[in-house]
Amino acid sequence: MSRRFALLYSTAVVAAAALAAAATVGLVLEVIGFSPWTTFGVILTGPLQDVFGVTEVLVRAVPLTLVALGVAISFRSGILNIGAEGQILIGILCSAGVALSFPGLPRAILLPLSLLAGTCGGALWGGIAGVLRARFDVNEILSTVMLNYIAAQLYTFMLRGPLIDPAELMTGSGTPQSMRLPRAVWLDRLVPGTRLHTGLVLALVLAALVWVLMWRTTLGYRMRAAGAGAKAARYAGVHVERALVVAMLFAGGFAGLAGAVEVLGVHHRAIEAISSGYGFAAIVVALFGGLHPAGIVPAAIFFGQLLVGADMTQRSVGVPANMILVLQGAIILAIVSAKMYLNNPYARQRAARLVSHIPGLRSVVSTAEEARS
């Protein structure tokens, strides 16, 4: 089989998957009476009209990258962490809590401390699911889903109770949100007048470090081995259960850090609905990026654009915000389906046979040597 055909085959599979996802979303848009073309047009070009739009895309890409890096680590290690949403919230609580508890500390201490607190909080929340899986054989998908609901309740409890801004109680408006964090912990803005903050640099550096961790260290190798084949890894001396817990600590830590960065960089106080589904979107980002840091960064930017674009369509033409979930769901289903065809040599051979039956297309399939023989 020629290389050209292999490439052609991959392209065709990817194109078919993209088309299927777009058609699903387009169908839903048609049903609710919006033109798919206009909507897709706004989503894809709207955010790129001005500097502010571009920076907003990057603002969304920061938490998406961070969470997706953690998701990739856990997926590579054979543990399906879908609890990022809850881990983000715990990260926000911890980092905001630390920042509010020690407002007098100098920036050089308080800022790293606050980021670290967020990371540890998230890691702890993820670690619960890891230990449950490793020690008690609890399906991690189910435990992380349940932990998401628990974290959401814990978050509202903290915002309504212990962490609530005293001003809210005084004026009686009672909006569940924390006090404004001390200025010392705010992340610097990269572009004045926009919300783009130094978290972007942090995300890029960490993406590189994750690559080093997973592909250049023993620990990373162990985690990947546990994910690729638990039995073989155990036989080779890898402590699989430990690798799973470590992977969940990393996954939770990245999600918690994403929460901390979001609250220190963008909102400067813990508010309700702060995460807006980053935890789930990041799963799509991680898959879209091939569970590799080099793919995740561009994927996060792309999905940042989709999120900003979807916001724009909601505000300008009134497409319901849930549409973004439809888009993400369709993309996940398309990716996992396409992947099986890309990695399946049998399917490729079958396609090759099929094409070679079509007169005139034979040369596409076979290499020059095969054709001669």
Binding site: I150, G329, A330, L333
Partner: protein, 315 residues
Amino acid sequence: MNAGRMAYDILSLGVPFSVALLLAALGEMFNQRAGVFNLGCEGIMSMGALLGFLPGYLVRSGALAPYTSLLGFALAAAVGALLGLLFGLVTVTFRAPQGIAGIGLQMLGVGVAGTLFRHFIGGVTGVEGVAAWPIPLLSRIPLLGGILFNHNPIVYLAFLAVPASWFLLNRTPWGLRVRAVGTHPRAADTMGIDVNRVRYQALLLGGAMGGLGGAYLSLCQAKMFADDLVAGRGFIAVALVYFGRWSPWGITGGALLFSLAQTFQLAIQVGGIKFPYEFAVMLPYALVILVLALTRTRSLGPSALGKPFNREMRV
């Protein structure tokens, strides 16, 4: 409020509250016994809840009005079955990893239901739904009558579905095929069973039951639709299958236990007992984790659970 009265309220509310979970979990049981881990149950239930709600919302009066609930349940079952088939296409035919595909289906279902709801309905509106249908004589038994026999007809049907599911799974040729393809698909294949076809059939049935469970929520329990009506019940249904050790009886026990925890939580709030509301809401979810941790079930499950079957691949 005295404790006896509270216990009665918890029990008589807990039984109908368990039905949505029960229907969805029984459906999921068929999926898993056939070897397919359908995590998209949440999305299927959301779509079922919306489509079950729509006829009653659209047709408020006229000759058709009394039949809207029936139509709603039929639509919900149909859309559930359809989504089950879609999941089959992705996981059985394309052999995609089921956990991730399930998350995709969940997002798709919840997203489409939410989008259609926002567009066609907009705000929270009620429907008449299905009224209670006390069973003559039996419902007049003191205490027990109110707990067991004073509900809407779907409750009775759902509890009849429990022995029916057991019979279907354990006493019919189709049930044997389902268990075979979920336990040892290669052996089943050798015996001439079309593994993928049986899996599709199980997904069809499971999806329809998930859709019915969703419609029960919007038509019988809440009598309205909201974006977050299902609120994780689809995931809990999947967890209940583990908890119930893949048997209809165990699943029924789990569904009752879970919904009693939920009504207990409601009773605490209504009863004015000082306890933070958020922690009360957490209680059922924490219970699921606890129960899963205490019952080591993985080794008891269908041995081919989550593994796509490929005829062409040598083992």
